[in-house]
């Protein structure tokens, strides 16, 4: 087997073993949080809310919550794992080896993608206790889930590269990602907003990702799905090359 493939496989295996080993920190919390969302927002509050685009509120929020879990977990995996490796200096094991920086990038990214997708599947399974899901466009659902997981994995990796202390790892998720996600149409349709706020919302990339994912599952959307797809693909390339450039220069890891 090609040397780079062996190296890639090693990082991916290590990442998967890591997030499975600490399943009570990685897989269980999203399952519990999303169960609470489904009960409180979907059942209790949702029963008081009119249908949106002819779907019950529960049905409407499921795609957004699944996508929210994928994005936040993909991000958290790479940011915490990479920063953790920097903190305990085990990142040096990779840096002194003959593995190229692109393989390090791909290894961490795939690790984040797998955690994001595993959590996504867990949340889908939890949602089945509360509603029926009939996926309209399975190919699109898989594609946008994969692309979103890749984009947020790379985002987390960049966060991990720049982070100097543990606070830096939680800063972006708390002050940037969470507001963007909550304002990204997970719980409402932007059609319910005044026109001004609809236009402002279009600047939020999470909205396009959630909306495209929702279209894949329910077959209804507020935006043009090609806009969402092209945005996420563009984001992927920008973050990928930025990340590659940072790792090649040894940013945050080499003196």
């Amino acid at each position: 087997m090609n040397k780079n493939l062996i190296s890639l496989q090693t990082i991916v295996r290590k990442e998967v073993v890591r997030f499975i080993r600490i399943w009570s920190q990685t897989l269980l919390p999203p399952a519990i949080t999303m169960t609470l969302y489904f009960i409180i927002f979907g059942k209790l509050i949702g029963s008081q809310i009119h249908s949106i685009h002819d779907y019950s509120y529960m049905e409407y929020i499921v795609p957004g919550l699944v996508m929210m879990s994928i994005m936040t977990n993909a991000y958290a995996n790479t940011s915490s794992s990479f920063f953790g490796s920097k903190f305990n200096r085990s990142i040096e094991e990779m840096l002194v080896s003959s593995m190229p920086s692109i393989v390090i990038l791909l290894g961490f990214m795939v690790g984040g993608v797998l955690r994001g997708l595993v959590v996504g599947v867990v949340v889908v399974l939890v949602s089945l206790f509360f509603t029926h899901l009939k996926i309209q466009h399975p190919g699109l659902v898989f594609m946008i889930a994969l692309l979103a997981a890749m984009v947020f994995s790379l985002g987390g990796l960049i966060n991990g590269i720049f982070a100097k202390k543990f606070d830096d790892v939680s800063f972006i998720p708390t002050f940037v990602l969470t507001p963007l996600t909550y304002l990204g149409g997970v719980f409402y349709s932007i059609k319910q907003l005044p026109e001004f706020w609809q236009n402002i919302s279009l600047l939020n990339p999470v909205l396009s990702i959630v909306d495209t994912f929702r279209f894949g599952i329910l077959g209804t959307s507020d935006l043009n799905i090609y806009y969402g797809l092209s945005l996420v693909v563009s984001l992927f390339f920008v973050l990928f090359f930025w990340c590659w450039w940072l790792l090649s220069r040894g940013a945050g890891v080499r003196t």
Binding site: T10, K14, R21, R89, E93, L95, S98, M99
Partner: protein, 310 residues
């Protein structure tokens, strides 16, 4: 062939600190080479550059003819490094640390498992293979790092203070292992604060002081440069006066211990003859300080004047 060739290597940190001020260094293939210097002299920076954990400011580095700037992968394939501080995840199993390291080098898992078993056995920690690294003692962690550095079977092994904080028994077994490894053809570069370790193991040495190379020579030649050495003699019978030994300055430490200075033109036989004539019976003899240590201190002191002006 040169295992390592460094030309005009400079490192200026973003703080403005010039850690390396243009050093030239050559290490021949098969050598056991000591890189010595005080704390902060620039040894770890130099090693960091060799294993690409530190970006150099200028200069060239070649490892077995491969240029660090243009053939990084080939350079890294030749090197194994044992850092000064622990740099593995303490939550990983001992065996996994080695197998993963092999994986980073692109070594297939089956071969990695065989090598991991071999080196863990060699280092005497095979029975700890399924424990997480957190549970290892300090000495075992050091041995683990040595085993990990060997997993890619490097031609050049760099050890940054490998025996710091290691007990005497383990230190001696590591010395033995490193000697065997060197005899089998692995070039070894060692930094250490234990100068008797360097003198015992190494064939050549270089001394870095304030980022400059102030000495690079053959170990034996350097030690021979020592003009005067002080030896300590343990006596069988107590002496209540300092004996007069012609041409040998003597200092009575206590009733049963003498310190005698011998210059390089005098012989121990001659000293013993004079001691016999004086009726002194010696039951033990040792150097007051390690010979290399004596030279090291002198070289550093000599260079203090020149570097302090910079």
């Amino acid at each position: 062939m040169k295992a390592l060739s460094v030309k005009n290597l400079r490192k200026v940190y973003s703080t403005g600190l010039e850690a390396l001020k243009g050093i030239d260094l050559d290490v021949e293939e098969g050598d056991f080479f000591a890189l010595l210097g005080q704390n902060g002299a620039g040894k770890s920076t130099a090693i960091g550059i060799l294993c690409s954990l530190v970006n150099k400011t200028s200069g060239t580095v070649k490892v077995f003819g491969h240029d660090l700037d243009h053939e990084l992968r080939a350079v890294k394939d030749c090197i194994g490094v044992v850092p000064q501080e622990m740099n593995f995840s303490i939550f990983e199993k001992v065996k996994d640390i080695l197998i993963n390291q092999a994986g980073y080098y692109g070594i297939p898992r089956k071969i990695a498992e065989t090598r991991a078993e071999f080196y863990l056995k060699k280092m005497g920690i095979w029975e700890k293979r399924d424990q997480i690294a957190l549970r290892l003692s300090g000495g075992m962690k050091r041995r683990l790092m040595i085993a990990r550095a060997l997993i890619n079977e490097p031609r050049l092994l760099i050890l940054d203070e490998p025996t710091a904080g290691v007990d005497i028994e383990l230190r001696h077994s590591l010395w033995q292992f490193l000697k065997e490894l060197n005899e089998k053809g692995t070039t070894i570069i060692l930094t250490t604060h234990y100068l008797e370790e360097a003198e015992y193991l190494c064939k050549h040495l270089a001394i870095i002081h304030h980022g400059k190379l102030i000495e690079q020579s053959n170990m034996k030649e350097l030690v021979n440069r020592l003009h005067v050495q002080t030896i300590i003699l343990d006596l069988k019978n107590p002496l209540f006066e300092t004996p007069a030994l012609q041409n040998y300055p003597v200092h009575r430490v206590d009733d049963v211990t003498l310190e005698v200075e011998i210059n390089k033109n005098q012989s121990i036989n001659d000293l013993y003859e004079k001691l016999n004539q004086a009726g002194v019976t010696v039951i033990g003899m040792r150097n007051k300080v390690n010979r290399l240590e004596e030279l090291f201190v002198k070289l550093i002191a000599k260079n203090k004047g020149t570097t302090s002006h910079e």
